[in-house]
């Protein structure tokens, strides 16, 4: 007889650690006297994430295990992607600890950290879910926490505005996703992904196939909100601009990674099993062209609109939209290498984006303006900071010897290796990359060529400096020796047999 204790709870260890730490932190925050610096909470949170990473590493060799009646599964996919989430969150929380804005933050410092942990927990549950219910619960946990995080600077107008926008847009997107999922449930009678996968190939009736097609679009539209692809990207610039910088980094990296995780889960464990009644092609192949079009539009919109931005955070918001487009290219091509490509790109993207936002935070937090001219003469004010920002920008622009380049290389190979090759999509990608040179190197121009407004040196907190340095170092190392990451992935990713 199965009891609660007969489940193998050990595979949830990373989630439990995050959960316990987050709950504990909220209590500590409640009872800790007002005068105690809330940074200590942040460091405990950081320790918790590190502990979770360690426990996850201990689980790497574990076979595919499911518990709670297949609603929670620890498979290769979950393991490697969870590692990205945890690493990203660990870096972001250090950003949050060092965040010292001029206004509207002091009182809510404690909340900052445990909400971040809660959001992370949601993302982790998503990556491990084997059931639509857990998938959705994870998604909501992530979204709810993010809404609050965005509005955390309560006396700041922009922060409020962006939180409002985020909530409204986010709820609509969630509703649409849920509506799509309800079709799936209605047709298959189950919310379990594996049972669905067994049932769906049996459907041959065209009527049902249409419904499933609608379900696909609903789900995809709703979820693409999370990764901010065009035309569902309009929220991103406003929210990225208004949110506190560490939250922006969180949204840009962890939340976006989670978005890709859930999209891949849903696409491959549900829609890959639906076959067209006439040609017997999977539904995925039929909708490939739409994915490709969305990827193309996203890359174009992200990169072209970024050209006109003066606000650094907005600029990087558009740049992150463009990067979502690049990753979508890998999804749209549906090559056998898709996981390798997406995983590696998310790794590279996470490192360079967190690094870039860390530098942005250091440069802009003390001033009222986030205008690009804040970067003028950064090389004179802090050579180390400027050079490392240079590395991030080169990597974002996809210049060789950086991780971003290898990531793009991967995407190209994937796009050209399938038959017929996605030559147009590949060309759009490279053309928009060139467009991105204009704004990326515009920042470079400010940093290296323009004279600074003040000659004062920039003081960087040691913790920040370490984060920035780690990101820069990893960006270069993964660019020069990408096999370190690729080998790891090939060893533990196991080509995701658990999906097949």
């Amino acid at each position: 007889m199965e009891t609660l204790l007969s489940f193998e709870w050990g595979i949830m260890a990373p989630e439990f650690i995050i959960l316990i730490v987050a709950t504990g932190l909220s209590l500590i925050d409640l009872f800790l006297p007002k005068r105690v610096d809330r940074k200590i909470i942040g460091w405990i949170g950081f320790a918790g994430i590190v502990l979770a990473i360690i426990s996850l590493v201990g689980l790497l060799d574990k076979e595919v295990t499911t518990i709670l009646y297949d609603t929670f599964r620890l498979d290769a996919f979950a393991k490697v992607f969870k590692l990205l989430l945890l690493a990203g969150a660990a870096l972001v929380i250090v950003l949050a600890i060092s965040y010292e804005p001029k206004e509207g933050m002091q009182e809510y410092r404690g909340e900052f950290f445990y909400l971040l942990m809660a959001a992370l927990l949601g993302a982790m549950v998503m990556s491990s879910s084997g059931d639509l219910i857990t998938l959705f619960v994870g998604l909501e946990l992530l979204s709810m926490s993010s809404y609050i995080l965005v509005g955390l600077r309560k006396t700041n107008l922009q922060s409020n505005e962006s939180a409002m926008k985020y909530v409204i847009n986010g709820s609509i997107a969630t509703a649409i996703t849920l509506f799509g999922l309800s079709y799936l449930y209605g047709i298959t009678g189950t919310t379990n992904l594996q049972e669905m996968a067994e049932f769906l190939p049996l459907i041959n009736d065209n009527q049902y196939l249409y419904l499933l097609g609608i379900a696909f679009f609903m789900v995809f539209v709703g979820l693409s909100f999370k990764i901010a692809t065009a035309p569902f990207h309009m929220w991103a610039p406003d929210v990225y601009q208004g949110a506190p910088t560490p939250v922006t980094a969180f949204l840009g990296v962890v939340s976006k990674t989670a978005g890709f995780i859930i999209i891949i889960r849903v696409l491959l464990s549900i829609f890959a099993y639906i076959h067209n009644g006439v040609t017997q092609e999977p539904l995925l192949v039929n909708v490939q062209i739409y994915l490709a079009v969305i990827a193309g539009i996203t890359m174009i919109v992200g990169n072209v609109v970024a050209l006109r931005q003066r606000n650094v955070k907005r600029l990087f918001a558009y740049s992150s939209i463009a990067h979502a487009g690049y990753i979508l290219v890998a999804l749209a091509t549906l090559s056998v290498f898709m996981f390798d490509i997406v995983w590696y790109y998310l790794l590279a993207y996470g490192l360079m984006t967190i690094g870039a936002f860390a530098v942005i935070q250091v440069v802009t937090e003390k001033s009222d303006s986030e205008d690009i001219s804040q970067f003028a003469g950064l090389y004179r004010r802090s050579p180390a900071l400027a050079i490392m920002m240079g590395i991030f920008i080169l990597s974002l622009a996809g210049i060789p010897a950086t991780a971003g380049f290898i990531g793009k290389l991967n995407i190209f190979i994937g796009a050209f290796a399938v038959e017929p090759g996605f030559f147009v999509l590949g060309s759009i990608m490279i053309a928009t990359t060139i467009v991105s040179y204009f704004y990326y190197f515009g920042v470079m121009t400010q940093m290296f060529f323009r004279p600074p407004a003040t000659e004062t040196k920039i003081k960087v907190a040691p913790a920040m400096m370490i984060v920035i340095f780690i990101c820069a170092l990893a960006t270069v190392v993964f660019g020069l020796f990408p096999n370190i990451a690729i080998d790891f992935f090939q060893q533990y990713g196991d080509q995701f047999k658990d999906f097949m």
Binding site: F337, A401, L409, F412, I413, G426, F438, F441, Q490
Partner: protein, 502 residues
């Protein structure tokens, strides 16, 4: 050739200078300059060693290196070599000469860095990085590695132009970046398609694979890839109408960088066309020969005519570069031994001559603050030595027998006359025009009435004499004794001719 990793050490030797410079205080400009200059020497010495040993009969294959590097997309049981990119370096006669040329011009350009006025530390660090990129480009044995080195040249050059250039430096830097970015983007697409479809980027492997009986690509696709390659390298070379960025760079960049730029960076375009376009797609290249010849003649004539009407001496030289690169295309289009040899000779010879001319431009600008021909005049009286060298360089550029320019032009046209006499005949007008515009510009500057007084203007200094004399010596050496180049090139030429089916 006696120790392992010879080529890697050669290529990355400037890195030592970069590391040393990190620990030198910013203000100590003398030490920075000395380190910057000395850091270029190991590469030059090693290149010379390799060259002489090769001339003495050593086998260049002994220099090849291969270390496993990146393995994309590996499945259990998959072929180990599929989708693998190795770190592989090798040289043949042609690339060895290019490496030698690069090392030489870099060392001399480091001397020209005396004209840099600020932030020497940053300048030399970027300069040495640029040298690594250039050396690597010529030694890379696979396309991805080539591309990586190729891009490494791009970024330092952007900064070197944008920070240390003249008035419109930022605009020049951006137009350099974007044009070359587009070029390398097209190149990357070609490389990635080849890689995705064949699973390798090794140059030799690709050329055997694609030209064997069961090629994995249709011939129309190969033609498309070749055209893309020509565009990619055409931006670099530059081929008309893709040249406008290069004019700006020539005018705005500091002298040391223009020497490198017109001496080496433009040559990467020619190298790429010879090595990849001809090497990997010989059949398709043959079918485009007429088109390439016409493009070459257009380049030659267009550059020559526009050089004739320029008032700024830098612009004259910039257009003259366009014009001279036309001769490379003309030689290649001939598809015979004389033509291709002429093209390669032109690559080397123009590298030396333009480096010399732009160094002299630096000498002039440093003293007179202008290179406008109407504002100059009577240089021969004020700065006799400089004027003399300028004349010598000009004569080399217009192809005076006994200097390297003559040999290359002669052979290129010899080749083309054998295949397409009419196009060649039209092209010869360009040779005449070259003499006209060079003499107009140089005589206008050196002779005639002095437009200004030369009080307090010193003639060329000993330290400046060193690059000038060295370059001139090489130019004359190749001119009177061409086999110093043609002998090392022999084996490479035979391989190319074999590929072309000749």
């Amino acid at each position: 050739m006696n120790f392992p990793y010879f080529l890697s050490i050669l290529i990355f030797s400037p890195l030592l200078g970069v590391l040393l410079l990190m620990f030198v205080p910013k203000k100590n400009d003398k030490l920075i300059k000395v380190i910057g200059f000395c850091a270029t020497l190991p590469a030059l010495i090693l290149a010379l060693v390799a060259f002489f040993q090769y001339r003495a009969g050593a086998d260049l294959a002994a220099l090849s290196e291969r270390v496993p590097w990146i393995q994309f997309f590996w499945f259990k049981g998959m072929d180990e070599q599929l989708f693998a990119i190795d770190y592989e370096l090798a040289v043949n006669g042609f690339s060895l000469i290019m490496i030698l040329l690069t090392a030489l011009v870099s060392t001399l350009a480091a001397v020209a860095a005396i004209y840099i006025k600020k932030e020497w530390k940053g300048f030399f660090m970027l300069f040495l990085l640029l040298e690594i990129g250039m050396l690597g480009v010529f030694a890379a044995e696979n396309l991805v590695l080539f591309f990586i080195f190729f891009e490494i040249t791009l970024i330092p050059t952007f900064f070197l132009i944008g920070k240390w250039g003249y008035f419109e430096k930022e605009r020049a830097a951006f137009s350099f970046l974007i044009y070359n970015g587009v070029g390398s983007a097209v190149l990357l697409i070609v490389i990635m398609i080849l890689f995705a479809r064949t699973g390798t980027t090794n140059i030799d492997l690709l050329s055997t694979l694609l030209n064997s009986g069961d090629s994995p690509m249709s011939s129309s696709m190969k033609l498309g890839l070749l055209i893309a390659l020509l565009i990619a390298f055409g931006v670099k070379l530059p081929i008309f109408p893709l040249h406008s960025w290069m004019l700006r760079v020539h005018v705005q960049a500091p002298p040391a960088i223009v020497m490198i730029h017109s001496g080496i960076l433009l040559k990467i375009g020619a190298y790429g066309i010879i090595r990849f376009a001809m090497g990997i797609f010989p059949e398709q290249f043959t079918s485009l020969a007429v088109l390439i010849a016409i493009l070459g003649v257009i380049n030659l004539l267009y550059g020559a005519f526009l050089a004739f009407v320029q008032t700024d001496f830098k612009m004259v030289l910039a257009y003259s570069s366009v014009s001279h690169m036309g001769i490379v295309l003309i030689g290649l289009a001939a598809l015979n031994e004389a033509g291709i040899q002429g093209a390669i000779f032109q690559v080397v010879s123009h590298g030396l001559i333009s480096a010399l001319l732009f160094f002299l431009v630096g000498v002039l600008y440093e003293r007179l603050d202008t290179t406008e021909i109407p504002k100059l005049g009577g240089l021969a009286k004020g700065m006799p030595l400089t004027a003399g060298f300028l004349l010598a360089a000009g004569l080399a550029s217009l192809g005076l027998p006994g200097m390297s320019g003559f040999v290359s032009e002669f052979m290129a046209f010899l080749g083309l006359f054998g295949e397409m006499p009419i196009i060649a005949a039209v092209g010869v007008i360009g040779i005449i025009m070259t003499a006209v515009y060079i003499l107009r510009a140089i005589l206008g500057m050196t002779y005639g009435e002095a437009k200004r007084d030369f009080v307090g203007v010193t003639d060329i200094r000993p330290i400046e004499l060193f690059p000038v004399v060295t370059l001139l010596a090489f130019i004359i050496l190749i001119g009177v004794y061409p086999s110093v180049l043609s002998q090392p090139l022999q084996a490479t030429l035979e391989t190319i001719m074999l590929g072309l089916g000749g």
